[in-house]
Symmetry: C2
Subunit: 150 residues, 2 copies
């Protein structure tokens, strides 16, 4: 899906002129995908490719307590996605669903949430499986998440 395009049947909202709070990008995600069209629809924490998360050294101490094998929830910012779509047509067939009924990157706050498995941890660099985004995507948060046994 081209995240800038507007398709037949889709509806837009007027975005507010101001923002209510500010985000800090805490790192970057490196994946095998450079275009949105190449990305899988949702990641696979068991069989997906290894991806790297490069944390800003400012936050490195905050990794204390994480170990390889852990399940994590990552939040990241879909910075190429338009934010004003309220009705979307994922299949581009004129049929629409509300933005809150699908997990498209296009939403008022384009925050993606994925569950991943931590494979290795080396200083500020994490290798994880389960991501679905283009390489270079800004990271917002890392939280512990209980995964089923591998």
């Amino acid at each position: 899906m081209d995240t800038a395009e507007v398709r037949a049947g889709e509806e837009l909202a007027d975005l507010p002129a101001t923002r209510d709070a500010g985000l800090i990008f805490i790192g970057r995600i490196e994946t095998p995908w450079t275009l949105r069209a190449e990305c899988p629809r949702g990641g696979d924490a068991e069989h997906g490719p290894d991806c790297r998360v490069i944390l800003d050294p400012r936050w490195q101490a905050a990794l204390k307590g994480l170990t390889a094998g852990d399940g994590l929830q990552l939040l990241y910012w879909m910075d190429r996605a338009r934010r004003d779509l309220v009705l979307q047509s994922p299949r581009n067939d004129g049929q629409t669903l509300g933005t809150f009924a699908i997990r498209s990157p296009c939403r008022p706050n384009p925050i993606a949430s994925s569950v991943v498995r931590l494979m290795t941890l080396d200083g500020p660099c994490l290798v994880v499986r389960g991501l679905d985004c283009v390489s270079g995507t800004p990271l917002l948060d890392i939280k512990p998440h209980r995964l089923n046994p591998a």
Copy 2:
């Protein structure tokens, strides 16, 4: 936990002077809790109390396709939480864990993520079970999420 207090053993980072992206508050959450200390640690999508989500009418059309009984993932903004803690002592006993190894509201981007069950939907007002935050918390996103059968 008082989200402003700093405890023995906790460590702070210097926050960047600028923000990298802006958030839009899309609604408010109403819960039975007015103080952080009253909130449960994590919600219960089956047996938790009914809470109300009041969506800004600007985004109401984006609910199309959601129905009572659905599982949802809500993202919301913990606006009372400090953002500079890298090591935290959840039990206030001098033992610390990294911010990314716990789900405390205090984190560089204080975005909470909870899985809830949609009980009723009436215009821009959703009744859900599974929240854990103080009343008045700003809403950031609603995403579909598959729940186990009730």
